[in-house]
Symmetry: C2
DNA sequence: ATAAAAGTTCAAGTCAACTTGAAGTCAAGT
DNA sequence: ACTTGACTTCAAGTTGACTTGAACTTTTAT
């Protein structure tokens, strides 16, 4: 397939496909002249990338999941990501419930509505920091 | 409370709190000299902001949810956001299942494992584009 | 009274993830 | 042979969400 077909089917613009290839997230299988050729299995990969991005993983994290760095490392990594997703699913569920309630609640301000606050508080467990921004500069 | 206490309790750095105040997402209740004073209810608000950010909403979207623009507009908006979350929850669940399977699967490449692919494909429904990047420039 | 600590403003810098623009290369149809 | 349009590279620009730095003002401790 050529790049425009992949773009059409996957929903990613061609510029993004080139960008992803440069980053090593996808591969083209060859060229016709200058033009890239893609094997159709790139579509699965792109779908997974889209899913991962939607789940809040960075491109770097996603490529880590793709490439098994060691025999055991990767297995543990995948399970850790799965647990991360479980936590996030809980949060999203709490927020969704909060929104649904807020939409039918006639309290003047949601922050004064005990039910709304209770719905949100469920999510507050096991949450200390923003997930994406940890930098781990313990050692200067 | 002063800004460092809010920072400590909420987990957001002081710089972020100032930034959020400037953006109108939170308010300080007064000053002592130059220094901001916060009412403790800002903590609820911050928790909700954190939840919203984690769910992938932009700061602009979050502030829209806070401020009732009209009598009915807001209600519909909240329900729409809740539906968006429902879709995302489905995706995350599919991805989580995919990861858990991948961690125990001994196929050489996950893209060749039919179970993995099937798990992911569940999520592919009702997904055309990335949620965050729509720009709607239909009219040039 | 004085110096350090903590807070302030405002402009500029950073980072990830793309997108856009300019200039060039090909491949195909007429 | 030639034009057109799809594709290419590479550098630079954009956006959202913050962070950092420099210069300044209080508050608090000694």
């Amino acid at each position: 397939m050529d790049i425009t077909e992949v773009a059409k089917v996957s929903g990613f613009p061609a510029s993004t496909l080139r960008f992803y290839e440069e980053k090593g997230l996808i591969q083209s299988t060859g060229r016709v002249g200058l033009r890239r050729l893609f094997n159709s299995d790139v579509l699965e990969r792109l779908a997974l990338i889209g899913l991962g991005r939607g789940a809040g993983f960075s491109l770097d994290e996603i490529s880590e999941m793709f490439t098994p760095e060691g025999p055991e490392i990767n297995r543990a990594l995948l399970l850790a990501k799965a647990d991360e997703l479980d936590r996030k699913i809980k949060e999203l569920t709490a927020m969704r419930n909060g929104l649904r309630h807020a939409a039918v609640c006639n309290a003047p301000n949601h922050f004064e509505c005990p039910k709304f606050l209770r719905l949100l508080r469920v999510a507050g467990k096991n949450r200390f920091r923003q997930p994406s921004k940890l930098k781990e500069n313990k050692f200067k």
